[in-house]
Symmetry: C2
Subunit: 346 residues, 2 copies
């Protein structure tokens, strides 16, 4: 085979040949992706991965996410770690145990190889920390000005034990609404980075894999009716979706909603409502009111649920309205996000 110059990870850039499917593609895959993600499945080296069947008596879960966050790097993470956390969380929110991820990359011509390497390593670290293997992938290259550095789509497979699984349609009037921690950290971290805003204590994204927290919650043996991560559109949109799916209303208690002080200040300064700001390491759980304490205890015992709180309750409401008792004692409607608050947040 003819000689191929090693990739220059210090000064090199992605060019169209890296998406050709030919020699340059093979080199990129072997020297970067295969090396960083290395596992027995990826090593099969075929068009896809052959995977063992999960335990019998369970069901499969499949979820996918495109990631287009801008900028690619932000305090607390980057598009790589986000693309792993985001899809693991979607699988985990089904009550399932995530096992495998696929990753498909769309790279813009001119992307520095150093950036790509850093992002791929960050994906590998996030996957390893989560105990999930990236088993297959694909890479395409688009011309300069036809992308924005890179986009990553990840798809996750997990398995779900038989029995009651959480679903958006299972909220019942009287149920308790729990939130695993502070609101808005991811969105405000991205926005601060984008706008060059500086705060006394820097805002870091909460981007994290939540399946460990979910597993801890499941050991409490509480029947979790609904589990959802309030990403794009924030808590307000997530709760409205659940209210519509379950045909119920919700009443939140503003004073009970945990907020990082700097995030609260930044939101006030920028005129943003933290209820609509994206999170990437938080979950909402809905369970019977009498189970709330038990579930909260399980959440608070996990590092990602230390600030978990009971933030409201499910109520009878044929209009499926989400409302909130404000700190000042009033009531306000909490509608779904309309329009676009923060584009390219995940």
């Amino acid at each position: 085979m003819s000689y191929v110059k090693p990739l220059d990870f210090k000064h090199g850039r992605i060019d169209m040949s890296h998406g050709s499917g030919g020699r340059a593609s093979a080199q990129l895959i072997e020297s970067l992706f295969a090396a960083a993600f290395d596992n027995e499945f990826l090593r099969q080296g075929n068009d896809g991965a052959v995977l063992p069947l999960p335990p019998p008596d369970c069901r499969l879960v499949m979820s996918t996410d495109a990631h287009v966050v801008s900028p690619l790097f932000f305090p607390g993470g980057d598009i790589g770690s986000l693309s792993v956390h985001g899809t693991i969380n979607d699988v985990a929110m089904m009550g399932a145990t995530p096992l495998w991820l696929s990753a498909s990359f769309i790279l813009e011509e001119g992307l520095p190889l150093a950036d790509l390497q850093r992002i791929v390593q960050s994906m590998a670290d996030a996957a390893q920390e989560a105990g999930v293997a990236i088993v297959t992938g694909d890479t395409k290259v688009v011309e300069r000005n036809k992308g924005d550095g890179m986009y990553i789509s990840t798809t996750g497979i997990g398995y779900l034990a038989k029995g009651n699984a959480p679903a958006g349609s299972r909220a019942r009037a009287g149920d308790a609404i729990l939130l695993s921690g502070t609101l808005g950290d991811h969105g405000m971290a991205i926005l601060s980075q984008r706008e060059g805003l500086q705060f006394d204590s820097p805002i870091r994204s909460d981007s994290a894999s939540l399946h460990g927290l979910v597993a801890a919650m499941q050991t409490s043996s509480v029947d979790i009716h609904v589990l959802r991560d309030p990403t794009r559109g924030g808590l307000a949109t997530t709760l409205n979706e659940i209210a519509r799916q379950s045909k119920v209303g919700m009443l939140l208690d503003e004073a009970a909603i945990p907020l990082n002080r700097t995030v609260a200040a930044a939101c006030e300064f920028l005129g943003l409502d933290p209820l609509y700001v994206a999170n990437e390491g938080k979950l909402v759980a809905i369970c019977r009111a009498e189970d709330a304490d038990k579930l909260l205890t399980a959440m608070r015992a996990h590092p990602l649920g230390q600030a978990a709180a009971l933030i409201g309750q499910v109520v009878v409401d044929a209009s499926c309205f989400v409302e909130m008792r404000t700190r000042l004692g009033g009531r306000r409607m909490v509608d779904m996000l309309t329009g676009e608050q923060l584009p390219r947040i995940c």
Copy 2:
């Protein structure tokens, strides 16, 4: 809930709010994606799909592909049908039966809703024809000039019966190399469309789902050593990959390689080698020489394998060279694709 104007599929365009995760996203999902792809899994309406476990005693197969083809529409297909065929084929090339697909969309602000609708319908038709369900998805929107209309990443899950499965590493010296039909139709269809070239008989992409052909081949009960679809990089690159994985050489017979006459003329006119042009509805199969006739008969009995041919044999070669006996009686090296022949082909 406040009133939302129905989507204008005639004159409307994608705007940033369609990627917000809020009301406009929900409207797009409900009135377009959910309506077109409708199936019991998608209807669950959660962050992912819960799927039944495939038959016991089998293994799972997972494969993913990003699709960035330009232009979005071409003779014989569009990015939608291609994104279904491409991933189904990757699953089928593992010898597996494809069951479910996920689809993640990256849309460029300004994309006409009419184009999106046409593409989504084309995906739905391709999936239905293939008997595969699109069970979960995601949609993101990027600003004008940060995309190129749209990109689609699809991931497929299938199941693989126990027993010998085809793999790139299983080619053995003496094996026969079969090709299911003519070379280069997809790549030349895209190129003709892109360059505005006109031929007496228009060149159409061969984009098609190959799992039916694979199933027909499997009923022959021939042990298929290798199965691969020669997409990006063409037949030459695919065979070089297999040669390297199996540590063998290959000797092709140029006169035996089926070529559409118009494609041959177009390649000659443009100075392109059909061995390097992409295909999206063809497969290479490698089996023992004594099984070749049986497998060819099975291939030719299927509509997508009518022009199947024995095109060469696997030979002992420590250098893993792929060579070809030319029509003129000489021998030439057939190397992997170097550089980029046709960008954005799939």
